[in-house]
């Protein structure tokens, strides 16, 4: 029993509902409608719990770009033992800041382009370098077939703390699993 006299099986739920914990955790099929609903919930919750407008807007912007990035990559194709339409998105708060994790399957034909972009972003030494890259891509007028403009991850890097922490693990001949872990400091 915990000090709150909760049955052991209820403790994880209680912890999840405590301040400084999970604000969003989603795993499942990803569609535009699902993402819109999740973002609407987070927008409302952030307005309630985060007083600092700059932190609040950074979190929402990063979460939105991560969510829309998942949408860019999910495939609605049948793959044995693999739900390529699914993704993962979480937002957790702690004393010092927030952590956003997004994960999804990426078709291997798109894997190199994505990792090259992430490496290019992480190679930028200063915020001014990131801003220069952001402005270059913003001006190029190129949009992908799925709507992406190639700016999302650059913006995530600009608004987060430290380098983009990611992994790309090969699952099979067709797909890899991409995870992005982003930190946002409060102060």
């Amino acid at each position: 029993m915990s000090k709150y006299d909760l049955p052991v099986s209820h403790v994880p739920v209680f912890k999840a509902m405590s301040p400084g914990s999970i604000l969003l955790k989603y795993q499942g099929s990803v569609t535009t409608e699902v993402i819109d609903s999740l973002l609407a919930i987070v927008l409302y919750r952030l307005e309630c719990i985060e007083q600092n407008i700059n932190v609040r807007k950074k979190i929402y912007s990063i979460l939105m770009e991560c969510a829309q990035n998942i949408c860019l990559h999910v495939d609605h194709v049948i793959e044995p033992d693999l739900d390529t339409s699914s993704g993962y998105l979480s937002l957790e708060s702690s004393l010092g800041g927030y952590q956003i994790i997004s994960a999804n399957f990426v078709h291997n034909t798109r894997k190199k382009r994505l990792t090259d972009m992430l490496e290019c972003i992480n190679a930028q030494k200063t915020n001014d370098d990131l801003k220069k890259l952001y402005n270059e891509v913003m001006a190029n007028k190129i949009f992908g077939a799925r709507g992406g403009g190639g700016l999302g991850l650059i913006d995530v890097a600009r608004k987060s703390t430290g380098k983009l922490n990611y992994s790309m693990d090969t699952i099979n001949n067709h797909y890899s699993f991409f995870t992005l872990n982003v930190a946002i400091k409060k102060y």
Binding site: E65, M138, L151
Partner: protein
Amino acid sequence: MAHLLIESTAKTPHINFNGQTGLFEIRGMSCSEYAFNFYKPVFDWLDNYVKNPNEKTTVNVQLKYFNTSSAKCILQMFERIGALQDQKRFIEVNWYYERDDEQMIADGENYSVLLGLPFKLKELGSS
């Protein structure tokens, strides 16, 4: 010239461009992942407007959030409006931000530098 009026949705902004008065307003959320599809009619309307523009065009931008896909479109929108400078027309851009919103201020300043177009940064609620 006719109005361009587009009602807002949860993730696309309210657009009210008045071709007769030269008063353009855009406000709300601009977060569609398919931002280009949303802004395409705006670009088309502006391409017509610049053929016969007003002496003065005022653009009021009051966005709460915009995603990166929209950021590209906003730049393209202002490139069209900025071309009016070549025709010696007067352009006033009012870029509104919420109190203490440093990112929105920085975005307005960045567009202003990139476009060579003066932006008046105005805090919402202040006179």
